[in-house]
């Protein structure tokens, strides 16, 4: 069974119907793009920000991810698969940007937290920023997107034991 099928069949969050969201392999319409932006834009943006710590960079990743979505027009078996695909693309694009040192330095989020005098949140954010990218992405997908370690393993194409290891080390730090 394809991983994608398992994602849809076994891991679909409660509340999602068994109906299949089947998208034919064709270019996305403007309405579909706007729908994807509406449904998944925040998730994509936040995942990108967790890697890049800069709003402009995260916005660039959001746009690039949706361009891939528009051009590749893959078939999705469910909304869950669709979101997993988008997050995977966003993660890869974000990590490529880090690899090529194309990341800006201004962390507006940290600036906002300090301006609000939310030392408690600022402390947590700095701690997460100090993690390795592998640990950060697992922490983000686990705590922000509420994915299980099994789901995270499939999204990131890693072994579940590796995901659990990253999660534990991230928590310990």
């Amino acid at each position: 069974m394809l991983l994608a099928d398992r994602l849809a069949a076994e891991e679909a969050p409660e509340g999602e119907t068994a109906g299949i969201l089947s998208v034919r392999a064709r270019a996305k319409t403007d309405a579909e793009i706007e729908r994807a932006l509406e449904l998944y834009g925040n998730s994509i943006l936040r995942l990108a920000y967790s890697y890049l710590h800069n709003m402009q960079d995260a916005e660039d990743i959001l746009q690039e991810t949706l361009i891939r979505y528009m051009d590749k027009a893959p078939d999705f078996e469910s909304p869950f698969h669709e979101k997993a695909w988008l997050l995977r693309v966003a993660a890869n694009l974000s990590k490529n940007r880090i690899s090529y040192n194309k990341v800006r330095q201004t962390d507006q989020l940290q600036e906002d937290l300090l301006a609000e005098q939310r030392e408690d949140l600022s402390f947590v954010w700095e701690a997460v920023k100090g993690l390795s990218p592998s640990q950060r992405e697992v922490i983000h997908l686990f705590y922000q997107e509420d994915y299980s370690t099994a789901q995270i393993a499939q999204i990131l194409a890693e072994k579940e034991s590796t995901v659990r290891s990253h999660l534990k080390r991230g928590r310990d730090k």
Binding site: L3, A25, R26, L45, L113, L121, Q144, A157
Partner: protein, 212 residues
């Protein structure tokens, strides 16, 4: 970690950002030539053979033009391999990703399982041992593509030139966890858990090179 969600709630798509993103997408759509099926056009070329005449004679053709067939145009009935998929053999994986996938042999543990994965166009074979050992071989298109999925920071990062290929080795100094290289067309990575000796990692690299 409700605090993490509270932090992330401050990161959201504003109406201004939404307009900029949609505008950028529209610009991209205008700049990208579309096929009649509404998909981005892909350059394709063909291998054209002029068949030899019947067994008795040969035809010499001057000015013969030969193209190599690459990626077929996708149509509305063609599923694009752009997701996560597992296959039961290397042959199926090769068919999915569209390129040959090398294999590893003589690993330093007994292989109890092999997993063949197409992760968004990157081919990956995981060799698993009975005591939790794992060695992964990844291959993807593009000389700058990161195919290993391993973004950890290692204490030891060394570069070696072997047979004209620049090989990057990462580990803790005493063992190697990651080897990365490109042949100009594809990017490769071997990751090992637990790490391997430098000699073993280079041996596996050489084995892949002979299949490339």
């Amino acid at each position: 970690m409700d605090k993490y969600k509270e932090i992330m709630s401050r990161v959201s798509v504003t109406p201004e950002m939404r307009q900029r993103v949609l505008s950028g997408l529209e610009d991209h759509r205008k700049q990208t030539p579309q096929t009649s099926a509404g998909r981005p056009a892909r350059r394709r070329s063909w291998i054209r053979w002029v068949p030899a005449a019947a067994a008795a004679c040969f035809i010499l053709v001057f000015g013969l033009q030969i193209y190599q067939s690459r990626q077929p145009l996708t149509g509305p009935d063609t599923e694009v391999s752009q997701g996560l998929a597992e296959y039961s053999s290397v042959e199926e994986l090769e068919a999915a990703v569209g390129f040959d996938v090398p294999q590893l042999q003589d690993l330093p543990f007994e292989v109890t399982g092999q997993v063949y994965t197409d992760a968004f166009g990157i081919a990956r074979i995981d060799y698993q041992g009975g005591s939790g050992e794992n060695i992964s071989l990844s291959k993807g298109i593009g000389d700058g593509t990161e195919v290993s999925g391993d973004y950890n920071e290692y204490d030891s990062v060394t570069e070696e030139s072997i047979g004209g290929i620049e090989l990057t080795l990462k580990g803790d100094g005493s063992s190697m966890s990651l080897a990365q290289w490109t042949d100009g067309e594809y990017a490769y990575a071997i990751s090992a858990d637990p790490g391997l000796s430098r000699e073993n990692m280079i041996r596996l690299f050489s084995l892949v090179r002979t299949q490339s």
